[in-house]
C-alpha cells in the first residue's frame, strides 16, 4: 500500500508522498567487505563462524549474528547487482544460517533488553525486505528470482521473530508490511 496517498498526479501511485512512509532514512546495507569470488573469502567466513560459534545467549552475540546476516545480504545484493549469480546458494545459506540462530536465541522468559532487541530485529528484517525491493530495481531482471529468495528468507525469519512479541507490536507493523508488499509489487511490475 502505501503509503502514499497523495492528491495529484493522475494515474500514478506515489510511495513516500503520503500519510505513511516507514523507511526513509533507515540504515541501508553495510559495505560487503570480502566477496565470495575472492580467494581469501574462506578465511573471512571461518573468522565469522568462529566468532559466532558459542551460544547465542548474550545480547552481544545476538548483535553479531544480525551484523553477519546483514553482511551476507550486502554481499548477495552486490553480486546480484553485478549480475553475478554464481554464489547465490552460498549467500542464501549463510544469510539463513545467521537469521535462524538469531531467531532461535530469543525465548519467552527473556529480559527486557532482549525483548527490546527482538523488536529491533523484527523491524530490521522488514527493512531488509524493503531494501531488497529497491535494490532489485537497480539490477538485471534475470536476477529478480534470487532477490525474491533472499526476501523469502527474511520474511520467514521475520514471522518467527514477531510471533512471540506483543499483539500491540504486531499490529503496529501493519502499515510497514503493506509498504513492503506494495514496494515489491511495484518493483516486479516495473519495466
Amino acid at each position: 500500500m502505501v503509503l502514499a496517498i497523495s492528491l495529484a498526479a493522475p494515474g500514478y501511485i506515489n510511495a513516500g508522498h503520503g500519510f505513511f512512509n516507514s523507511f526513509e532514512g533507515v540504515p541501508w546495507l553495510p559495505e560487503p567487505g570480502l566477496m565470495p569470488d575472492q580467494f581469501v573469502y574462506f578465511i573471512d567466513e571461518a573468522i565469522e563462524k568462529f566468532q559466532t560459534s558459542s551460544h547465542v545467549d548474550s545480547l552481544d552475540s545476538k548483535k553479531k549474528h544480525l551484523a553477519f546476516a546483514e553482511e551476507k545480504l550486502a554481499e548477495g545484493v552486490t553480486l546480484l547487482k553485478n549480475n553475478n549469480t554464481s554464489h547465490h546458494a552460498r549467500i542464501e545459506k549463510s544469510y539463513a544460517h545467521y537469521l535462524k540462530n538469531l531467531n532461535q536465541s530469543f525465548s519467552i522468559n527473556q529480559n527486557a533488553d532482549e525483548t527490546n532487541y527482538q523488536q529491533y530485529c523484527a523491524d530490521r528484517l522488514l527493512q531488509h525486505m524493503y531494501i531488497l525491493s529497491i535494490e532489485v530495481l537497480d539490477s538485471d531482471r534475470s536476477t529478480a528470482k534470487h532477490f525474491l529468495t533472499l526476501n523469502e528468507i527474511a520474511s520467514e525469519h521475520y514471522r518467527g521473530l514477531i510471533e512471540n512479541l506483543s499483539r500491540d507490536f504486531f499490529d503496529s507493523h501493519f502499515f510497514k508490511k503493506e509498504e513492503v508488499k506494495w514496494s515489491w509489487e511495484i518493483a516486479l511490475e516495473a519495466d
Binding site: 495529484a8 500514478y12 501511485i13 513516500g16 505513511f20 523507511f23 529491533y120
Partner: protein
Amino acid sequence: MFRWSRLLIVAILLLLGSCTEDNQQKITGQPPGPYKMTLTAPHQIEVGKEVILTTEIKHSDSGMPVKNLRTLHERRVHNFITNLNFTNFSHIHHEDFNALKDDQIESARLSFPYTFPTPGRYRMVSEFTDSKRSWIKHFNIEVGDGAHTNDRHLEETKTSVVQNYKGALSFSSQAPLAGSPIEMVINVSRDNLPVRDLKLWLGSEAHVAIWRDDGKYFGHTHAYTPTMKQMMEGLAHQEKSHTNNSKMIQDMMVRMMSQPSELIFEGPTIPIIYVFPQPGKYVMYFECAPNGNPIVFQFIINVLPSTKIWPTHEH
C-alpha cells in the same frame, strides 16, 4: 617571452577554472537505488550568504538523466530543508524562481537559490516522481565554519504562532502511537478569529513535512480529504478481516489521485492523518495559505511506542 606570458595566462585561467570546480562539492543523495541524485553546493557555505543549490537525477545503471520527471503538486522536485536543531525550514523548488526550460526537463538538472540562516548541520530531503512511484533522497549539509552541536531540547508543542496567525494542533486520540494511524486537526486563527479563507497552495490546502528529531523518518503528507477517509475505512476493514490486498488499495489510490486538485477545507480546521513509523519526538512543519499567503507552523509531537511494555530503540 611571448610564449612564457601566454603559458602564464593559460595557467592562471586553469587555476581559476579549477578554483570554481573546487569550490563546489557534489553530495550523493541517500539511500541508493535505481536513481542517483546529487546535490551540488559550495564547499564552504556561509551563513546569510545566498548560494545556488543544484540537484541532478540520473538512472543509476546507465548514468543517463531521468527525463520528464512527473509534475506532482505543481512541481517536478520538492525540496525540504531544515537544520537539525529544527529552528528553520523551507519547502522550496526550482520553479519558485524560474520557469523550467526544455533542457532542464531533459537533464533533470534543477537549481534554486538558498540562504542558510544559521550555522550547523542541515538536512535536505528531495522528492521526485518517476515511473509509478515517488522517490525520496536526503542530503546532509554543513553550514558555517566549525563543528556545531545541535543540542536544542525539543518540548512537545501543540500551538504555534506565526505573525498574527495561530495554529493549534489536536489529536483524535490521547496520544499518537507508533504504527497506528492518527487523525490530527490544525485549527488556524488570525487575530484570534477563525480563518475561513484558506486557499490551495501547490495543489493542496496543507503541505506537511515531518521528521523525527534525529533527522530520520521524513514524511510528507497533505490534508485528509473525504476520499482519503473512505480509503482508510477500507483499510480498517482490510486489517480486521486480515485480507491484505495491497493491489486493491493501489487501485483505490489511483482513482483518488486521478481527481483534480480541489479546495475542500477553507478553514478554520484542516484534518490530516499520519502513521508515525517509530516512537520518539517528531517535528511537524505545517504549511497552509490563508488568503493565499503561505505560512508555516511548527509542532513537536511525542509519539509513544506501540507496546506499553518496552520501547524499541535503535541499536
